[in-house]
Subunit: 196 residues, 2 copies
């Protein structure tokens, strides 16, 4: 019974190392050999613990979902923050170098989604919900949120390819500088803090 718990803990920790490897690689397509090697265990054991490649991916995706849900909770920003500040901060966080792996991994899952994978589609939908919920807290205008979200995604794509975060930042900022924000909050000119 003691061993039981220890084994289970061991497996969870193994899963986390798998996810970490996926993030490091920016892809979920790694071969079991690569994955095993990078995780420091034999392919044999990977299959032994998870019972096949599909399960590893499934579990890793679920774990990733949890992590992202925690990271992009609306509580990350103090209430009353201006929408522009929120979006800009999100952009900073997204284009931070150390976030690149996650970004690539998420895009890899998006690819699976548009190639038909049901699981990946669910992942995408979940991410959408997450972001909408977050943004709606600070910008309670659904079409506008929809627009920001799509612009954000396009900007991420361009950023990933070119490596230049500036165009995205500009476009996102432009979207807010052009028209009055909701409620006419007077604090439109505050400096954006990139909370770490």
């Amino acid at each position: 019974m003691l061993m039981q718990r220890k084994r289970k803990a061991g497996r969870e920790e193994l899963l986390e190392r798998c996810l970490a490897t996926f993030v490091r690689a920016g892809a979920i397509d790694l071969s079991l050999d690569q994955l095993a090697n990078s995780v420091g265990i034999s392919k044999r054991m990977l299959i032994h613990y998870f019972g096949g490649r599909e399960n590893i991916e499934e579990r890793a995706m679920t774990l990733l979902e949890q992590r992202l849900r925690a990271q992009f909770a609306p509580e990350s920003f103090p209430p009353g923050t201006s929408p522009e500040a929120v979006v800009t901060a999100l952009w900073e966080r997204t284009t931070a170098p150390q976030a690149r792996g996650v970004l690539l991994l998420v895009m890899d899952l998006s690819r699976r989604a548009w190639n038909g994978s049901a699981r990946a589609k669910a992942f995408y939908a979940e991410q959408q919900r997450l972001w909408v919920r977050l943004l709606m807290k600070f910008l309670p205008d659904q079409p506008k949120v929809e627009e920001v979200l799509q612009l954000f995604q396009g900007a991420v794509l361009a950023y990933l390819i070119t490596g230049d975060p500036e165009p995205g930042r500009r476009s996102l900022a432009r979207m807010f500088s052009k028209q009055g924000t909701a409620g006419g909050s007077p604090t439109s000119r505050q400096r954006v803090r990139t909370r770490k």
Copy 2:
């Protein structure tokens, strides 16, 4: 000398069938076996004609570039068309069912680009130039064009995954109904939502 031309023509036509297959599959990752089978020739001959997988991809990409350059020439729209009309028409064309293959293929190349492939990056850059040139003809406002482009890409991504072209159409339309174009026209007083 007669044979020479015939051979060359045959090879070009073969290349076109390869590109067609890539488009049909929405990916450039097909194995040589699949490709050969779908094109109606033996793998043996594919390599014989093109000299290896890389060359096939390279040539197919170049051919695709040509095709797209022809399709998205500024002459496709009569001068003086409103920017909104142009963008909406482009959206229709992009989300037409028969365009899905090309869309997927282009996204596949984008993926290669963000995974580091120099050639795919060049392809992406070329497409960007193409669209900027086209849009600038009808919307001579560079930041705005940049913004539209990113929004468009994000919308395409969402469309590919969900299959629903409406959110993209809405956001794109919204972007034009909201404000005047360059220079910051003073008539930007839209409906304002109060936050909860």
